[in-house]
Amino acid sequence: MKFMRLIWVNLLRNKRRTILTVLSVAVALFLFTTLRSVVTALDAVSEVGSEARLITRSATGITFPLPQSYFERLRAQEGVQSVSWANWFGGIYVNESNFFAQLAIDHETYLAMYPEMAIPDDQRQAFLNERTAVLVGRGLMERFGWTLDQNVTLQGTIFPGDWEFTIRAVYVPDDPSFGDQLFFFHYDYLYEGVNGNIIPGWYVIQLDDPAAAPAAIDRIDRMFENSSSPTKTETEKAFNAGFVTMWGNIGFLVKAIGTAVFFAILLVAANTMMMAGRERIGENAVLKTLGFQDGLLFRLVLAESLLITLLGGALGVFGSKLMFGPGNPVNSFIQGFEVEWSTVILGLVIATLLGMISGIVPAWQAMRLPVIQALRRVA
C-alpha cells in the first residue's frame, strides 16, 4: 500500500497520544485474553474426562460412600472392562491454605485405568509395592518443592490423626486440563489406619465401548435403585462438567466484564481518533484539493485507526500469550490455564472491530468534508 507512509507519519505527529492509545488498547486486550482463558480452561476441564469411563456415586450426595459389595456387582456387568474406586481424604498439609486434592485409590485397578498419567516404570512399581507410597502430580511437586522419596505428613480432617506418606512416583498428565496437582495413595493404607471403618467413596468404571455408556448408566442405576444406597452414574466427562458448574455462573461474569472492558476501551480509542480527525481538518481539505478521492480519505483514516488498535491488540494479546504459556503459575489454581490460539485470534478480531468502530465517524467526517469551508479555516 503506497499510502502506508502517509498513515505512519500521521500516527507519529502526536507520538504521545498514539502511544497512550496503543497501550490502553493493549492492556484491554491483555485483560480480555486473560479472562477468556479462565473460561476456556474451565471448559477444557469439563471436556477432559473420558466418555468410556463412568463415575458411580451415591444418589444422595457426593459425600456419601457406597458399599464395598458394589465392586463385584459392577464388575459383573456386561460391557464393563474394569472397576476401581476412590475416596476423598481431605487432609491438611501444614496449614489450610495449602489446599490440594488427595485421593485414596484402589491402586492397581486405578492406575491401569488412567493412561493419561505418564509415570516412569520404576516409579510406578515403587508406588504399587509400598503401602504408604504416594503418587503426586508434577505441578504439586513443584508447588511445595517436594522431591522423590521425601516423607510428607498430612493432618486428617475426615480421618483424624497425622498420616505419614512417602513420595514414590510423579506423574505428568498428557493433557494439562487433567491437572498435575493430584495426590494419590493406597486405599489399603487408609483402610488399615481407620481399622476397616470405611467404604469406597465412589466407583470408576471402564467400559469396553464408550457408545455403550448410556445403556450401562441406566442399567447400573436401576440395579441399585431399591437398595439402601441408590447410585447416580455419569460419564466421567459429565461428572467433571458438573463440578465446574458448582462454581456458579462464571461464564456470565466473564462475559459481562469482557463487554465492559470492550466498551471502555472503545471510548478511549474513539476519542483519540476524533481528536486526530479534528486536528487534521485543514490537511484533509488540502489533500482533497490535491485530488485525493473521498473514498481514499475514508480508507486512510480507517486504516490509521485500525493500525492503532491492531498494534495495541497484538501487544496485549501476545503479551498475555507469552505470560500465560504452558506451565504458568496460575495452573495451580486453575487446571490447564493457558492462553489458547483461538483466544489470540478472537482478541485480534476484537482489536480489528475496535479499530473499525472508533475510526468510522472521523473517517466519515473526513470523507464528507466540505473543502472550501475547511480551507477557509486553514487560512
Partner: protein, 387 residues
Amino acid sequence: MKIPILYNLRSLKERPVSTLTTAAGMALVVAVFVAMMALANGFRSALVKSGSPNNAMVLRKGANAEMYSGIARSTASTIAGMPFVARGPDNQPLSSPEVFVVIGADRLTGGMANLVVRGVSPKAMQVRQDLEIVAGRDLRSGASEVLVGEKIVDRFANTGIGETMSFGGRDWTVVGHFSARGAAFESEIWAENEQVMPVFRGEVFQSVTFRMADPASFDGVKQQLEEDPRLFLDVFRENEFYQNQSVILTFILNFIAVFIAGVMAIGAVFGAINTMYAAVSSRAPEIAVLLTLGFKPGNVLSSFLIEAVFIALIGGAMGCILTLPINGLVTSTTNWNSFSEVAFAFRVTPALLLTGMIFAAIMGFLGGFFPALKAARQPVIVALRQG
C-alpha cells in the same frame, strides 16, 4: 488567587463529546470495580452473618468443617449439661446438637449443586436468634418435615410449601420457609435432628451449637471443653467459624476485582491523559491569558487537575448508578469448606460507592497531572503568539 471552578465547567461544556467519552470510559471501570466488590461483599456478608458471637460451636477435634465431624450423643448431652450453657425460659439448655449432611441437587437454572440438610434440635431457632419463619410454620417434632431457606426457594425443585422433597430414601413435606437476615443458613434445608439422623449417618451428630450464658467467658469455655480428654473437641465462636470459611474466597474475589479494575483503569487513565493534553493544547492561548492576568502557575495546575478530577467524578457517579440495579441480585457459588451451595446477594453499600468515587478521583488525578503540569509550565509568550 484561585481560578474559579466555573471556568472549568464552561470549558467542559465547550467539548461535550470528549468529556463524555472520557467520563463514560471511567464509568465502566468504576462499574466493574464496584460490581466485583459487591460480589465479594455479598459472599462475605452471607458467611459473616451466619453465626453469633454469643454462640459457641463444637466439632470433633481436627475436623475443620461440620461435614467431617462426628460427635457422640453422650458427648452432646455432656455439653448441654455444662454450667456455661445458657438456659431458656423453660430452664432447658439452649443447645442444638445438629446433623449436617450435604445432598446433591440440580439448580433449576442449570448446573449441579450440593445443598446442606441440617438436622436441628427444637431449640435451634432459640439458639440462633436471627432466624425467622417467613411463611408456613415451624417443624413438628417427630414428623418428616422440612423448613427451606429463603434463598433456595424458587431456585431448586419442590421447595414450595406443601410440596414434597425426596432425599435420604424418604419423603419430606415442606412446611415453611425461613429467613436468616441474609446468612448462609438461607441456603440450607432444616429438619429435626432425630428425623435426619437415622436416614443418613447413624447415631452421630456433626456439631453442637449452644448459647453461652456469658459470651465474654468464651476463652474459658473453649479451654474447658478442648482440654477434656474424654470429649476430644474443638470449640469455635460461631461467627468466627463461618467468617473463617469466607476468608479465602473473599480474598480471591477482592483480588480479581482489584486486578481487573486496576488493568482497566490503566487504559482509562491513558484515555484521560489524551483528553486532558488535547484540552491543554487547544486552550494554550487561554492559559497564557490567565498567566498574564497574574494567576500563578500553581493556580493553573490545580485548575486543570480539578477539571480532570471533575470529569472522573462524573464518570464515577455514572458508574455507581450503573451498579445500583445489581444490588440485591441473588447469585450462588459453592462454599468449598462445607462443599455446599451458598446463595448470596450482591451488596452495593454506601461505603462501596464511596470507594468507587475515590477510585474515580484517583484515576482523574493520575490522568490530569502531567497535562496540568504542562499547562502550568507553558511559556507565556509562545502560547500568546499561538492565539
